[in-house]
């Protein structure tokens, strides 16, 4: 089966000018990546990681300096028009729309640019306006839309020509929580129709909630790729078991007894007024939990909380070591 996206040794450099003279900046440095059809694939990375450069190469807006990128089997350099017909994209933010045209006109114009015309275009626009919840506002000029409405219109526009691949560059950036949730729900619905989606984001909960697979980029290089659960497992961060006690202070003996347990890496006791919080770092997940509770039950257990390493922990460990 042909991969929806395939990058081999993909490299892109830019020449920038500074006071010290011209300088070569490597935005993508030999990236190898494969995204299977129907996958919702997340690309994570800090600013300057090369996420937007990757999206721009896949939309044919940028040429790679070296290496190859193929979309639905078509090379972005050799067959740009086949790639353009296969890709729909949105860039983050509320720009990229014609403010003086209505929502419906924006969709029809985008359709015309991709060969969708006449009755088919009108039917498709109506269907998409329904999907993104903008049917009531379809005849209003886009300059009157809220940021969330614009982002939903971006998604509808990217889908006008029924592309098998959707590239979403930080689709929830700058949206309020409600609008961001609506966009995420929409992305899930789009994926359920069988589309392949590549989504770049800074937001770990968003990546965790939406993506089947993730790639972490930094300085143009691929640091890790896999399912969110696999990335979390690769994290060197320990599980944290937190127990709140309230009757008597936790003494050195109790701390020593906990520290002696298997998989316990560290124990901290935090004084919080009349209560104490015992934080146990475990390299064996929640395995030592019962033993920890037994050693603390005399002190009056109040609350227990086990925190597994999050995607954010894994991401920070990967990107910042």
């Amino acid at each position: 089966m042909v991969a929806a996206i395939e990058c081999q040794a993909l490299t892109r450099s830019f020449r920038t000018r500074s006071r010290q003279g011209p300088r070569e900046v490597l935005a993508l440095a030999g990236l190898d990546l494969s995204v299977g059809p129907g996958t919702l694939f997340g690309v994570l990375g800090p600013n300057g990681a090369g996420k937007t450069t990757l999206v721009r190469i896949l939309t044919t807006l940028l040429l790679p300096t070296s290496g190859h990128a193929r979309v639905a089997g078509f090379d972005v350099v050799d067959h740009p028009n086949r790639v353009r017909a296969s890709v729909g994209f949105t860039f983050g933010g509320d720009r990229g729309l014609y403010g003086r045209l209505t929502g419906r006109e924006n969709l029809l114009y985008a359709g015309a640019l991709h060969g969708v015309h006449g009755r088919d275009a009108r039917r498709r626009a109506a269907e998409l306006l329904d999907v993104v919840g903008l049917r009531e506002s379809a005849s209003r000029r886009v300059e009157t839309y809220s940021r969330g409405m614009r982002q939903r219109l971006h998604l509808a526009r990217a889908l006008m020509h029924r592309p098998p691949l959707l590239l979403l560059d930080e689709p929830t950036t700058g949206l309020d929580p409600k609008a961001a949730r609506e966009v995420r729900q929409l992305v899930k619905r789009i994926q359920s129709t069988g589309a392949t989606i590549l989504l770049t984001t800074h937001l770990m909960p968003e990546a965790e909630e939406l993506c089947d697979a993730l790639a972490v980029l930094a300085r143009g290089r691929l640091l890790a790729a896999g399912r969110p659960s696999e990335l979390k497992q690769r994290s060197s961060q320990p599980t944290v078991i937190e127990v709140e006690v309230e009757t008597s202070p936790v003494g050195r003996d109790a701390v020593a007894a906990i520290r002696a347990l298997d998989h316990v890496v560290a124990v901290e006791v935090l004084d919080e007024g009349q209560r104490q919080r015992v934080r146990v770092h475990s390299s064996g997940g929640s395995g030592p939990l019962l033993d920890v509770l037994r050693r603390l039950e005399l002190h009056g257990l109040r609350t227990v909380n086990v925190r597994e390493p999050t995607l954010e922990d894994a991401y920070l460990a990967l990107v910042h070591g």
């Binding site: 830019f14 920038t16 900046v25 935005a27 600013n47 300057g48 990681a49 090369g50 996420k51 937007t52 450069t53 721009r56 939309t59 044919t60 807006l61 940028l62 040429l63 028009n81 353009r84 017909a85 890709v87 994209f89 860039f91 933010g93 720009r95 990229g96 729309l97 014609y98 403010g99 003086r100 045209l101 006109e105 029809l108 114009y109 985008a110 015309a112 640019l113 991709h114 060969g115 015309h117 000029r141």
Partner: protein
Amino acid sequence: MASWLRAGLWATRAQLRQATVSAGTFAGVAIAPLSILIIGAFMLPGSPAGMARGVFGSTLVGMWSTVFLAASLDISRERTQETLPLIISAPVPTAVVLIGKILGNALVSFAAVAVVFTVAVLAGLFPLVVDAPLLVSGLVLFAVSSATVGLLVSVAYVVTRAATGLGNALEMGVWVLCGLLYPVSILPGPVEALARALPMTWSARVVYAAVQGAEDGERAGTPVALSLALAAATTLAAILLYRLAERRWRAAAEPHD
């Protein structure tokens, strides 16, 4: 090909919609030609040839400036509102979309004709038209010629932000070069040669051939043919330049995170 044509027509429609949403557009179209008409009326009172230049010169100035607006400022706006990537990354060639867009403004440019003609008639300044069909043909030809030169100029605006600095020089350069306000024969030799290479120079002559006051009384056939041939050549040159520019754009676009 039919799909390209429909995309081009949609670009024209979108441009017309955007241009006609605001009354400010029409004010912009009317200000320069009306100013020139008023100056002409004060400086050349009672001269039929002078008034023909005043009325039709200001009309042509208004038409060119409106078309130039689409080819320059509107494309810069597409860049700042981040809609230019949508045009460039569409399967339809960028030149086809921009031809549609510029033709949209060529249609809007007829607002300049309406404004100047109305004011000239009301003020009793309108010169005697000896060949009305030729006048209409000349104006349409001028709009088309302007659109083709606008398309050529637009390449610079698509390729680089720095082109915005050329704005007035390109807009007013055509006023000076193409004989809109005076015959090109008064230009110095090499400049006149350049003027003769521009399709608007010949379509402006068609307009002047249709009204009283045309200085050389030439037959309209030659300027019509030359205007059409040069407009076709300019369009071809623009399309070829766009092919080169697209490669440059994709190779040299600015870095992103």
